[in-house]
C-alpha cells in the first residue's frame, strides 16, 4: 500500500512539531525517518497511524492517503496499520501467544478467524520471529530483543499493509540492535509490506532502509537513498548529521576559496566550483566539509588540497584506522585510512605528514555545491 502525505502540520501549543510535510512512500518500500531528538519524527509517524490529528491549515487541507484514498476520517483502529513502539508496550498480563493473537481475537465476530485458524496463524508468526518455543512465556520473562520481536509479530498478526515502527530498537543494547536490524530488513522483504521506521541512529537508517528521510525542526531536510544522503548531502545539516565530518570555516569569492590553512583556486576544487552567485560579489562566507575517509595522509605535499599536519593520535582498532591530526592553525582533523595504507606509511604520533583532501563539499550560506 502506498502512503501519501500532503501539507501536514502539527503544532503543540505554539510549538510547531511538524511543518508542512508532503511526501509519498511507494508500496513495498522500507523508509527510515531519521533526525535528531525532537525533530518531529514520531509526530509524523503518529499522524500516519491516526494517533495524532494534523492541524487544519489555511491553504490546502492536510491529507493522509493510503493507496490514494484519504484516511483522515478513519480512527486508528480502522486504518489497518501495524504500530510498534520503542518500549515494546507488550500486554504484560498476556503470554507471548496471547499477545500475538490479540489483534485477531478482538475482530468483530463476522471477520474473526476461528480458534484453529488463529492458532495456526500465530504459530506461523512465532516461527517467523523464531520464538515458537517461548509461546507460553510472559513478557517479563523475555529479553529485550525477544520482546521487540514479539511486538513486531503482534503488529503483523493483523496483516497490516503498512508497518510503522517508532524507534523499534531504541531500548536495546548496541549488540542486540545490530542483530535485529538485518532481521527487520529480511522480515520486511519477506512479508511484502510498506514500512516506515523512526530512528535517530544514522547507521541504522543507512544500513537497512531503501530510502532515508532526514528531518530537522519539523521539516524534511533531505529525502533520498542511503547513498544519496551519505554521499550527496544537500544541506550542511545533513552533512553533519550523517556520518563523521571535518568542518572548515572560511569564505569564497569568484576565483578562490579560503578555508583556514587552505587557499584553493577555482580550478582545484575536486567536485566543481560552488554556485554561480559566488562569482559575482565579493567574499561570501562558506563552510567546507570533508569526511574522514576522504582524507589521505601522505608523506609529501601533492596537489592543491594538501595541508601539513602533525599526528596526534592513531587508533588502529577497527575496519579503518582512525588518525587524529592537528593543522598548523591548531585545528584537529580526523582521517580514516585503510589498514593496508596504514601499514605502508609511517604514521606514529608526533610525525609530520600531509593531509590530502580527496573530496570536499562546500556550502555557502544559501546553497550547496
Amino acid at each position: 500500500m502506498s502512503i501519501e502525505m500532503r501539507n501536514l502540520n502539527k503544532t503543540f501549543g505554539t510549538f510547531p512539531a511538524v511543518r508542512d510535510v508532503s511526501l509519498k512512500i511507494e508500496t513495498g518500500q522500507l523508509v527510515a525517518l531519521l533526525g535528531p531528538s525532537g525533530s518531529g519524527k514520531s509526530t509524523l509517524l503518529r499522524m500516519i497511524a491516526g494517533l495524532e490529528i494534523p492541524d487544519e491549515s489555511r491553504q490546502a487541507g492536510p491529507e493522509v492517503l493510503f493507496d490514494g484514498n484519504p484516511v483522515g476520517h478513519k480512527p486508528v483502529r480502522k486504518r489497518g496499520v501495524g504500530f510498534v513502539f520503542q518500549h515494546y508496550s507488550l500486554f504484560r498480563h498476556m503470554t507471548v501467544f496471547e499477545n500475538v493473537a490479540f489483534g485477531l481475537r478482538v475482530r468483530p465476530r463476522r471477520t474473526r478467524p476461528d480458534r484453529a485458524e488463529i492458532d495456526r496463524k500465530v504459530k506461523t508468526l512465532l516461527e517467523l520471529i523464531q520464538l515458537q518455543s517461548l509461546a507460553g512465556r510472559y513478557p517479563h520473562q523475555l529479553s529485550g530483543g525477544q520482546r521487540q520481536r514479539v511486538a513486531l509479530a503482534r503488529a503483523l498478526a493483523v496483516e497490516p499493509q503498512v508497518l510503522l515502527l517508532d524507534e523499534p530498537f531504541g531500548a536495546l543494547d548496541a549488540q542486540v540492535r545490530v542483530d535485529l536490524r538485518s532481521w527487520l530488513r529480511k522480515l520486511h522483504d519477506e512479508i511484502n509490506v510498506t514500512s516506515v521506521f523512526v530512528t535517530h541512529d544514522q547507521e541504522e537508517a543507512l544500513e537497512i532502509a531503501d530510502r532515508v528521510i532526514i528531518m530537522n525542526k519539523g521539516r524534511i531536510e533531505q529525502d533520498g537513498t542511503p547513498y544519496e544522503v551519505f554521499h550527496a548531502p544537500e544541506t550542511p545539516f545533513v552533512m553533519g548529521f550523517i556520518g563523521a565530518v571535518n568542518t572548515f570555516r572560511g569564505c569564497l569569492n569568484s576565483s578562490r576559496g579560503i578555508f583556514g590553512p587552505l587557499t584553493i583556486e577555482r580550478r582545484d576544487f575536486p567536485d566543481g566550483y560552488p554556485v554561480a552567485e559566488a562569482a559575482e560579489g565579493g567574499d561570501i562566507p562558506a563552510e567546507m566539509f570533508v569526511r574522514p575517509h576522504e582524507i589521505e595522509l601522505k608523506d609529501k605535499r601533492e596537489g592543491a588540497l594538501s595541508i601539513p599536519v602533525r599526528i596526534i593520535r592513531v587508533q588502529p582498532a577497527g575496519a579503518l584506522v582512525r588518525v587524529e591530526v592537528r593543522t598548523e592553525g591548531g585545528e584537529v582533523l580526523t582521517a580514516e585510512i585503510s589498514h593496508e595504507r596504514f601499514r605502508k606509511e609511517v604514521l606514529s604520533p608526533g610525525s609530520l605528514v600531509f593531509a590530502e583532501l580527496k573530496k570536499a563539499r562546500v556550502f555557502t550560506r544559501t546553497s550547496p555545491v
Binding site: 497511524a49 494517533l51 480512527p75 486508528v76 483502529r77 480502522k78 486504518r79 489497518g80 496499520v81 501495524g82 504500530f83 513502539f85 518500549h87 508496550s89 507488550l90 500486554f91 504484560r92 498480563h93 498476556m94 490479540f102 489483534g103 478482538v106 475482530r107 510472559y138 517479563h140 511486538a151 503482534r154 503488529a155 498478526a157 493483523v158
Partner: protein
C-alpha cells in the same frame, strides 16, 4: 545473610559498606523504634479490642452477633457496602481513566476535589448532607413533599458513605495508570480493538490488583465509617444503626464484651484487607520483574 546485607526494593541484593543505611547499631535502633512506635499506636489497641471481645468467652463472643440489633446493624452495613463498593469501583475506574490517561486544564482542581473527602471532617460531611436533605435543608421541604426520605434512613447512610469513600479507588489507580502510560492501549487500538475491548482486555487486567486493593480499602472504610454516618443515621434501633454505631450503643449499654466483639469484626475486616493487599502487591511485583 550478614547484618550488612539488605535487599533493595526491587528485590536484588546489595551490600552496603557503612553506607547511608548506617551501621548495625543504627539499623537495629531504627528497627527498634519502628516496632516500639507501631506497637504503642497500633498493635496494643488491636490486642485490647480482642482481649475485651473474648473476655466473656468464645460463646458469648459469638452470641453477640446473633442479637436482633446486631444482625440488623450487620445487615445495614452489608447493604451499604453492597451499594457503595460497586459504585466506587465503577466510578473510581472511570475517574482514574480520565485523570491518568488524558491531559486537560483544571486537572489539579479535579484532583483536589477528589481528595476533599479525605480531608473533610466526617462530622462536616454528615452536616453537609443534613443541610441539603434535612427537613430544614435546601432540598428538604421539597423532598418531604415528594415523600422521599434521605437522611435518617438508608439513602442518607449510603450517600455519606459514598462521600467518605469516594477517593479510595481512584486514588489507588491514578498513580498506577499514570506509570503504565498509554502505549499498551494505543497498541490495542492499532490492532483493531474497540475502545471497550481495549479497556476490558488491556487496561483492566493490568490494573486489577490495584483496583482490588482500592475496593478493599473502600469496603473497609464503608464498614468502618462512624462520624459522618452517626450524624445522618437517627440511631433507630434495628433500623439505621450500622456496625460502628452499634458498637457505640453496646458500649454505652455497659455491654463491653459485645461491643468489642462487634469492633473485632471490623478489625478482622481490616486484617483481611491487608492480607489481600499483601497478595495483590506480591502479584504486582511478580508481573513487573
Amino acid at each position: 545473610m550478614s547484618e550488612k546485607t539488605m535487599i533493595n526494593p526491587s528485590g536484588s541484593l546489595r551490600i552496603f559498606f557503612r553506607g547511608i543505611d548506617g551501621g548495625v547499631l543504627i539499623r537495629r535502633g531504627l528497627i527498634g523504634i519502628t516496632w516500639a512506635f507501631l506497637s504503642i499506636f497500633l498493635i496494643l489497641p488491636v490486642i485490647l479490642v480482642f482481649r475485651y471481645a473474648f473476655s466473656l468467652g468464645v460463646v458469648a463472643y459469638l452470641q453477640s452477633f446473633l442479637t436482633r440489633d446486631a444482625r440488623s446493624a450487620l445487615g445495614l452495613s452489608v447493604f451499604t457496602a453492597l451499594i457503595v463498593v460497586p459504585v466506587n469501583a465503577v466510578f473510581g475506574v472511570v475517574m482514574a481513566w480520565a485523570i491518568a490517561k488524558f491531559e486537560f486544564r483544571g486537572k489539579n482542581i479535579l484532583l483536589t476535589v477528589l481528595d476533599v473527602p479525605f480531608a473533610v471532617s466526617p462530622v462536616i460531611a454528615g452536616m453537609m448532607f443534613l443541610l441539603l436533605f434535612g427537613s430544614r435543608g435546601l432540598l428538604g421541604p421539597w423532598l418531604q413533599e415528594a415523600g422521599i426520605r434521605i437522611v435518617f434512613a438508608r439513602p442518607g447512610i449510603v450517600l455519606v458513605t459514598l462521600f467518605v469513600t469516594l477517593p479510595f479507588v481512584a486514588r489507588e489507580l491514578i498513580p498506577l495508570m499514570h506509570t503504565q502510560g498509554t502505549e499498551a492501549e494505543i497498541s490495542a487500538l492499532t490492532l483493531g480493538a474497540t475502545g471497550l475491548q481495549t479497556f476490558f482486555r488491556v487496561t483492566l487486567p493490568s490494573i486489577k490488583w490495584g483496583l482490588l486493593y482500592g475496593i478493599l480499602l473502600s469496603n473497609a472504610r464503608s464498614f468502618g465509617e462512624f462520624g459522618a454516618v452517626s450524624v445522618v443515621s437517627g440511631h433507630i434501633r434495628g433500623k439505621t444503626n450500622t456496625i460502628p454505631l452499634h458498637v457505640e450503643i453496646l458500649f454505652n449499654d455497659y455491654q463491653f464484651a459485645a461491643s468489642f466483639a462487634m469492633a473485632s469484626l471490623l478489625v478482622f475486616l481490616g486484617v483481611l484487607t491487608l492480607i489481600a493487599k499483601g497478595i495483590a502487591e506480591s502479584r504486582e511485583n511478580y508481573r513487573e520483574h
